[in-house]
Amino acid sequence: MTTIESYESKTKSGVGVSAQRPDAVPKATGEFPFSSDLSSHNMLWGQTLRSPYPSARIKNIDISEALSISGVHAILTANDVPGKNLFGLEHPDQPVLADDLIRYAGEPIALVAAEHPEIAAKAINAIHVTFEELTPLIDAESSITAEPIHPEGNVIRHLKIDYGDPSTTGDLVIEGTYEVGMQDQAFMGTESGMAVPSPDGSVDLYISTQWLHSDQNQIIEALDLPEDMVRLTLAGVGGAFGGREDVSMHVHLCMLALHTGRPVKMVYDRNESFLGHVHRHPAKIWYRHHATKDGHIVKVEGKIILDGGAYASTTSAVLANACCFSTGPYRVSSAQIEGWGVRTNNPPCGAMRGFGNVQTCFAIEAQMDKVASALGIDPVELRLINALEQGDSIITGQKITGAAPVKEVISSLAGHPMPGPAENNLLARPGGTGRTTDQKHIKRGVGFAVSIKNLMFAEGFDDSSEALCQVDDGNVAIHTACVEVGQGFITLVHQIAEEVLGTSDITVIPADTSIGSAGSTSASRQTWMSGGAVLKACEAVVVKLIEQIFEDEGVKYENLDGTLVSEDGTKTIPVAEALKGRSFHEKVVHRHAPTFPLNNKGQGDAHVSFAFAAHRAVVDVDQELGLVRVIEIATSQDVGRILNPLQAVGQIEGGITQGLGLAVLEELVMKNGVIQNANFTDYLLPTALDTPPIEIAALIEEPEPGAPFGAKGIGEPPTISSTPAVVAAIRDATGVDLRRVPVRPEDIALE
C-alpha cells in the first residue's frame, strides 16, 4: 500500500517502521491468553445478580434457597463488602453492591460462586429480591432541577466557559439543536478475569482493564486491605475503547475468592457486558453561531447536556472536553458555553474513544455547514477561513504552542481524488443483499468535517507513567504497567528498545502492579506517557553504561542510534554488544508539562497538546427507503510523527469505523431506563460489508514539541469528525436537515 510505504522510516528498524507486533503470532494461532481463557485448578465460577429495574428500593434479599443448591459456595451481598461499599473512577459514588437503592437497570446486587456456570446461574435465579419499584428519572434536562436520586445531587458537573466579548454579534446568526444517542464501546472480549486468594488473606487479580493502578486503588478501599495485599496482573485484553476504564467485576471477584478461599473466574456474556460497563454519554446540544458575511465565526453560544446516568464515572472530565472543544478546531473571538453533566436513572456513562469531543463535534460541524450554506461559501473554504493555527487561543484562553497544521490537514484531504461510482453490484448498493435498491434509486452525497482532540488528561491532573529498563547480564527486560488493549503499545516498546539499545530482542515483563502506575490506556496518551517513560528508562541505562565503560576503560562514548561511538570517532560498539555481561536497573517516572484547572469562567491552560483530523465521507443514499451505503471515508490527520505506519493505519481505520457506527448504526435504545437491545442482534456494529475502503489522504508530520519522538497520540481523532462527515454526506444527498445520530432509515424516509 503506497500510503503506508511512503511513511516508512529510512532506518531498517526501530521507531518509524512497520515493526511486527510481538503478540501477532500467538494471536494468529489462538494461543494468546485472553482474560476469558484463564483457568485454574479448584476454580469456581462467579456470577452477578443485577437489578431489572432502573429505580427501586431493595426491601429484602433472600438467599436461602440459592445457598441450598448443591455446588454453590458463596452468595454475597452489600453486607459482605469488607471495606467501603463505594467506588468510582473520578470519585467514589457507586456501590460495589447495591445496598438500599437501585439507581440503574443492571446495577449489581449479589454475587454467586459455584462449581459450574450453570449452577451459578441457577443460584442467581434462586435469589429472591423484594423490590419496591420507583419512578425512574430518565430525562437529563429535567434532572437538573428534579429531586436528587443520589446524596451527591443530580448535577455531577456544571461548567461555564466565558471567553472574549459576550456582546459580539455577527451578520449571520444560525441556531440549531442536536442530539447524540448512546453508543457502546462493544469490545469483542467481554469482561472477564480471575481472582486467586492466598492463605495470608491477600489476593491476586488477573483482569482485563485499562488502568491497573486505578483499579487497585478502588479495590483496596472496598476490601479494606493494604496495597501490597491486592496485586493486579494484566490478562489479555480483547479491546477497550474506554469501556474498561471503570471497575466492573474487580471487587466482586476478589470478594468471592477471599470468601471461598478458591480461585474464582467470571466472564460476562454479551448481554451482561452491555449492562456491566459505562457507555458514551448521550447528549443534547444547542448552538447559536454568529458569523460575519465573509465567513468568520465571531461568536459561539452553546448549551450542552450530557446524560451521565446513575453514577459519576468520568462525566466531569467528559463534560470538560465537550465544553472546551465545543467550538471545534476554529478560531472564534467570543464564546459563551454552558454545560451540564447530570445524573439520571439511565445506565452510567463514561469514557468512550473521543470522550466528549465526539458529541460536540457532531453538532458543531453541522452548524458550520449551515453557516457555509447561508453565506454561500464552500464548506471546506469556510473551515479554512476559521482554522486554528499555532499561536491561536482556544476558548479556554490557552494558546496553542505546539503543532497545529489544521489548514494542511483540511487542504490535503480536500484535494484528495474522489472515488468513482459504486460497482454495479447489489452488494455495493444501499440495502446490499436485501436487493431493495437499483442504481436509479440512488443519490450520492459528500460530507466534510474537521475535529480537534486534546491529548492526555487535563485540568491539572498530575499524570505520570513509570518504566523500568532492567539489564541482567546483557539481557534486556522492560517493565511498565501500561495496558495493551490491541492498540500496539507492546510493539512500540520493542521499537524503542531497538532505537535506543539497538536490540528488540527483549523481554517485556507482564504489566502488573509491582511497578508504578502507567496511567490509563485512553486519552490517546500512552505513546507520549508510557512510550516516553520507556524511552527515558532505556536512555538512563545507556547513560549508566557509558559511565561504566568510562570507569573501566577511560573511553567516553556517545550513543548514536543504538551504537556507541567513542569521542574520537575511532571505536564503535553496538549498545547491545556493550551491555553483555553488565547489569542495570533504571526506573523512571515520566511526566508531561503541568496543566492547570479551569477557573469559574472556564479559563485556564488545562490541556497538554492538541491533535487535529479531517474526514470526508461519500455516501450513496436510497432516499425513498432511507437506506445509506457509505462508499468511502477519506482522512487526513495531524500525527506529529509516525512511529509505526502499519499500526497507525490500523488505528485510523478502526477509529473511523467506530465513527461510521455512530453515524448510521449504533445506538443503545432505551425505554424507561431499560436498554432494549443489549445484544449483537440489535446493537448493530459495522460488518465488513458496511465498512468502506478507507483512504488516507495525508498523515501530517509536524513534530510536537515536548512529545517523545514528536509523536502525537492517534487513537481518538479518527472517531471524532468521521461521524459528522458521514451525516453531512447524507444531508448533501437528501437535503434532509438531520439533527441526530445515529441516522435511522425513518429519519430520512419519513421526512
Partner: protein, 283 residues
Amino acid sequence: MEVLIASSTEEICELLAQDSSRQLLAGGTDFMVEVNYRHRSPSSVITIDQVPELQNWHHDGDSVVVGSCVTYREIERGPLATLVPALAQAARTVGSPQIRNAGTIGGNIGTASPAGDMIPVLSALGAVISLRSSEGIREISLEDLIIGVKETSLRHGEFIESVRVPVLDSPQEFLKVGSRSAMVISVTSLAFITYPKTRSVGIGLGAVNPTPTRAKEAEEFIADYLDWESMQVDPSGLDHFKDLVSAASSPIDDHRSVAAYRRKSIGILAQRALTRVFTEGVL
C-alpha cells in the same frame, strides 16, 4: 440434558410419541441462542439434522419438496436457487455464512418469527407444509401453521417434515429492509411471485404482521393493470397498489424501527418488486 440423535423420520416419530415434550434441534441457530441465554432449558433433545429424508429436496412434477433440514446455504445456491429464486434471494439475506450453513427452512418456519425471512416467500408461493407424527402425515398451509407471534399449530408429537412450493419458471423477487448491509433482522420484507399461467401475482409480507400475510387486495387490484404479453404495468395503478400493500400491514413500533416507516416501506418494496418484473408503460 438428554441428547438423542435421530437417524430416520420413524425414529423421530417414536421418540416424540414416547415423550412429546422432547425438543427438536436442527441447525440450532434459534434454539441454541435460547439455551445459551437460559430462556430455554430442555431436559431432552432430539437432533434431527442427520436424518437423510429431512436433508434432501426433490423435484416432484411442477413443484419442489424441500426437506425441513435443508439449510439456507443449499437454498441459496445450486439447483434449488434456480428452481425457486425468491427463496434463494431470501436465504442469502439470513444471518451470516456461518448461520446459513446451519440454519434450516424448517427451523425458520418452526420458530415462526414475524421477521422470518423464508416466510413471506413461502406465503406468496402458497407453500404447503407436510407435518409428520406417529399418527401419519398431514398437510397444512403456512397460514394455518403459523397462527401467532412465534406460535404454531403443531400438535404434540408432530414435526415439520418438508415444504412444497411450486416451480414457476417466471420472475420472482424478494426484498428486505434492514439497517445494516449484512446479518440483520428484517425491518420489512416482501416477496413478489408471478404466476403467468393464471396471470396473477403473489405478494407475501414480512415483519409487518404477526402472522404470514398476503396483500390480497393489492394482488387483485394490480391484475387489471398488468399486460402479461409485453410484461408491462400501467403506472397509473402504482400509487394505489402501493397504498393497498401498506394497508395490508399492521406494523408495530419496536427497538428496530417504527410502524410508520414499516408501513411506508412495505408499499415501496412492493412497487419496486413489481416494476422490476413489469416495466412501466401505458397499455
